[in-house]
Amino acid sequence: MKPFAYHQPNQIPDAAKLLTSIEDSKLVAGGMTLIPTLKQRLASPVALVDLSKLGDLKGITDDGATITIGAMTPHVVVAASQLVQTKIPGLAALASMIGDPAVRSRGTIGGSVANNDPAADYPAGVLGLGATIVTSTREIAADSFFLGLFETALEPGEIITAIRFPVPLKAGYAKFKAPASRYALVGVFVAKVADGVRVAVTGAGPGVFRVPPMEAALSGNFDPTAIAAIKIDTDGLTSDIHAEADYRAHLVTVMAKRAVDAALS
């Protein structure tokens, strides 16, 4: 790891200012992706801006029709939250499947969403539920937030402060995990909301994406059988040492069926 300066601001505007004023600086939340990246020297920022001292970024609040989760809330807290378990059990289940217990202790929802790893779990939940990403300057709908491989709509100096999730009628998540890393080889989040059904897939391609044919089929009949015959086009899907594109495409259908099952149970 190359040396870097370390800043621990107490206020969001201070953090944003550090981020824009120091060229090649990076935010660190839980560090579960950034620290391994630094260790491998895939990144060598001159300064880190640590978000852990920004007091009000942690915690989960019930807003009635929505739940707001602070950006620095670790996965373990979301997984164990009575509120999330009651109102969006599929999201609590998703959080409980991320990495392993030690990773869930440190890793945060804001960090995961900002990083937008193509195999991360949270992007599927955020896009699947049609959540809103609240930042230091504005609010961004999930549909226009995730732009592809590690790319998001965040501007330089913009910091995620919270994610606001609408409470769905039903929602479920299923993933086929890579056994060593526990990242999603394919993960599918399915949500039945007031105006239809949303299906979001992570792990299969360079970024999280929705599956309109499955959404249409499930809107008519919210049952696994409704999507059993829907195959995903392998164009643009990932092929690597873990799985070929056609296997990933197959897994999308299987995981989507299981996610519907999970939502119904």
């Binding site: 790891m1 621990q8 560090g31 579960m32 391994p36 630094l38 640590d50 392993d100 440190r106 526990r182």
Partner: protein, 161 residues
């Protein structure tokens, strides 16, 4: 930068570069070599310590995170004060042959203690799920799981005394 924290019950202040990993700080600077570095890629769990009571991988934790915190390492695990005995979880690992080469054991113990503290009546499924982030390359999981269940029961019994 200077950081101050409580290490195994003792106030500690050290001067560190911000780019120091807690596992390296413990082993190289503080001579606490019980915390092992196995994979150094956050997957094997040999380096698990408790940061404010929560199990974390010290190979994926920057030293500045310790400032103001309480850190417990494998050296800080102990039985009842004054008894000079091992921690009930350590006793259980010895009793049930929960280790072979022993390299993963410090991390297994720290994760197991955290698991048992959070949920006293652990089932086998809880233990297997809870140990997902701890890899034993001797693959002696069967006895590790037995040890953790037994150690959790012993911790529970000790608490009731």
């Amino acid at each position: 930068m200077q950081i101050s924290f409580t290490l195994n019950g003792r106030p500690t202040t050290v001067d560190v570069e911000p780019a120091t990993l807690v596992a390296d700080l413990l082993r190289e600077q503080l001579n606490l070599t019980g915390t092992h570095i196995g994979c150094d890629t956050s997957q094997c769990g040999a380096c698990v310590v408790h940061l404010d009571g929560i199990p974390v991988k010290s190979c994926t934790l920057l030293a500045p995170a310790l400032d103001g915190a309480t850190l417990l390492t494998i050296e800080g695990l102990q039985g009842a004060p004054g008894s000079n005995r091992m921690h009930p979880m350590q006793e259980a690992f010895r009793e049930h042959h929960g280790l072979q080469c022993g390299f993963c054991t410090p991390g297994m113990l720290m994760t197991a203690v955290a698991l048992a503290t959070e949920k006293p009546d652990l089932t086998e499924a809880d233990v297997r799920h809870g140990l997902e982030g701890n890899i034993c390359r001797c693959t002696g999981y069967q006895n590790i799981v037995i040890s953790v269940i037994s150690g959790a029961a012993a911790m529970n019994a000790a608490k009731g005394e």
